[in-house]
């Protein structure tokens, strides 16, 4: 057996000083951190510029394709023109959206929890959930108008059904997803069902529930517009429909932008809440 014991002799490559030559480590550029924002902004700006020049070239009339400037002007006019009763429309749509979305969130959460926790309830309700989820909600609008009239009630019903299923399905998945090892630990320490639910199952389901809430926003907004397109007295969807049929394309675009902006804003807010609740998750480094 040969044993080579290395003592205090420094590697010979270090020379007389004994100090190792160092190569500098590349430091990441500062703008790397803002890369996503920068590239996104550049892309959007490029798109708007192209759109603007295509529009001002007037290859097609403004009725077909208004430019971004036209849309911007129309959007300002929507809010400043005294003849425009925009607040009545916003109030109606906002009320419908809020009522339907909140009702869907609460009942979706409760149904999702019950279905996730009690397998037999899930077996009983699954056919209905699958059937209704697979049905495009727009086909129910005429029925809801017969049932509830063309006032807010029929809109709330459509919004409710739209936002309900993402909530149910995500909450249920969250409850189901509970780590079996955690349940075993809880059982081993003699935890009651209530404690297991409140301390293990529910906290674990929170990220799923928030995802459901976020997806529900999109579905609920679709519900608002779709229901109002079919029949309504007031509302942003009704505005879009009116401007479309009277060829006021810039105003129609403005209303669409408004809906899209609301969706982006709400989704962004919920995404922030989701991130807050997941601070315990391992940080993903890009």
């Amino acid at each position: 057996m040969s044993i080579k014991e290395i003592d205090t002799v420094l590697p010979t490559t270090r020379g007389e000083t004994g100090i190792r030559e160092r190569r500098s480590v590349v430091k990441p550029r500062r703008w790397k951190r803002y890369e996503a924002v920068i590239i996104g902004t550049v892309a959007v700006t490029a798109f708007l510029t192209t759109w603007h020049f295509v529009a001002v070239a007037r290859i097609v009339p403004v009725l077909f394709l208004p430019g971004p400037v036209d849309v911007g002007e129309a959007l300002v006019k929507l809010f400043t023109d005294p003849r425009q009763n925009i607040w009545a429309d916003l109030g109606t749509s906002g009320f419908e959206f809020g009522t339907g979305y909140v009702a869907a969130s609460i009942s979706g959460l409760l149904l999702g929890i019950v279905m996730g926790w009690y397998t037999r309830v899930q077996y009983a309700l699954d056919p209905f959930v699958n059937f209704l989820y697979a049905t495009p909600r727009i086909v129910l609008v005429p029925l809801f108008i017969i049932w509830f009239g063309i006032d807010w009630q029929s809109k709330v019903a459509v919004i409710y059904l739209g936002a309900l299923f993402p909530m149910i399905i995500n909450t249920m998945a969250g409850v189901r997803n509970t780590d079996a090892a955690l349940l075993r630990v809880a059982r081993s320490f003699g935890a009651s069902e209530t404690l297991v639910f409140r301390r293990v199952v529910l906290p674990g389901a929170v990220p799923f529930i928030l995802t459901g809430l976020r997806l529900g926003v999109g579905h609920a907004l679709t519900g608002v517009v779709v229901a109002e397109l079919v029949a309504a007295r007031h509302g942003v969807g009704k505005l879009i429909s009116d401007y479309g049929t009277t060829f006021q394309t810039p105003k129609m675009f403005a209303a669409v932008m408004f809906i899209a902006g609301t969706g982006v804003l709400l989704t962004w807010l919920l995404q922030r809440i989701e991130n807050r609740f997941q601070s315990w998750r391992p940080q993903i480094k890009s």
């Binding site: 075993r184 630990v185 809880a186 059982r187 081993s188 320490f189 003699g190 009651s192 315990w280």
Partner: protein, 280 residues
């Protein structure tokens, strides 16, 4: 082999008594009755540290789960302090192979989870106790860290502290160091012994690592292949406290040889036992 009670006087009174214990359960997928252990006879005395080793899949973990009350036994009797074990209880606490920590709770929050589930302490008492346990298991400074920020060894310290805080009569350890790297494992063994020396709790330790079993235990029990039962019992006469150096002791190596032979003998195929009700 059941020895008369008087034979164990030196090691204190019998704490855990298993007589002819059998555990069977249905395998849902193959629709077969599975016999995990059959005819386990053993006694563990107050303050004794016993380790069970055996070929993998021999039912040693199943037996431990039965002692914890997570799985019902379907034959024989299993008592702790002369009371039948039917469900998990405050007199036992398990240290799991997988740490099983709540990822959204900090170290402190996870350590109190055991007593919180048992409902034996107020929140303030639990937190105070947890801070003491944190010092004992060497996690000072990590009170507010989340499990995802801890190494495997540190997670198992939390797992251990959670069990210790419930102050059980008997500590059950299910291969708690199996997933750790060799160096961390040795360090954890050393620390576990230190902690055990102070508390002198009755401990039942499951492992597949022969060295680990000898190093930790007063008595090593070898299980047969499935369905598992006691094949060999060896009293480990190495004195305490034990340093890691004891693993180089000739006596230690002798125990190791003996147990290794016994397991090898089990591993050599014995088809007639393989037919006794388990899947191929």
């Amino acid at each position: 082999m059941v020895l008369p009670f008087a034979g164990h006087m030196g090691a204190g009174t019998a704490k855990l008594v298993a007589k002819d214990v059998a555990v069977e359960y249905w395998l849902a997928r193959s629709e077969r009755l599975f016999t995990a252990v059959d005819g386990v006879d053993l006694e563990i005395h107050d303050g004794e540290f016993v380790a069970i080793v055996g070929p993998s899949g021999c039912g040693k973990t199943t037996f431990l789960n039965a002692v914890d009350g997570l799985i019902p036994i379907c034959g024989g009797s299993l008592t702790l302090d002369s009371r039948d074990i039917t469900k998990p209880g405050r007199d036992r606490a398990m240290v799991f192979q997988q740490p099983g920590l709540l990822p959204w709770r900090t170290v402190l929050g996870n350590i109190i989870f055991g007593v919180e589930a048992q409902g034996t302490m107020t929140n303030a008492e639990a937190l105070e106790g947890a801070r003491k346990q944190i010092e004992i298991v060497g996690l000072k400074g990590f009170e507010d860290a989340y499990p995802s920020e801890l190494s495997g060894g540190m997670q198992q310290r939390v797992n251990l502290a959670r069990a210790l805080l419930t102050d059980p009569e008997m500590l059950l350890l299910d291969e708690p160091f199996a997933a750790l790297d060799a160096q961390t494992r040795e360090m954890m063994q050393l620390e576990l012994l230190k902690i055990w020396n102070r508390s002198q709790k009755t401990a039942l330790f499951i492992t597949h690592d022969i060295k680990e079993a000898i190093y930790l235990a007063d008595r090593v029990i070898v299980f047969t292949k499935r369905p598992g039962r006691v094949k060999l019992e060896i009293d480990v006469d190495l004195g305490r406290p034990r340093s890691l150096r004891v693993k180089r002791d000739p006596k230690f190596l002798e125990y190791e040889d003996r147990i290794w032979e016994s397991i090898q003998e089990e591993l050599a195929a014995r088809p007639e036992r393989l037919l006794a009700g388990m899947p191929a």
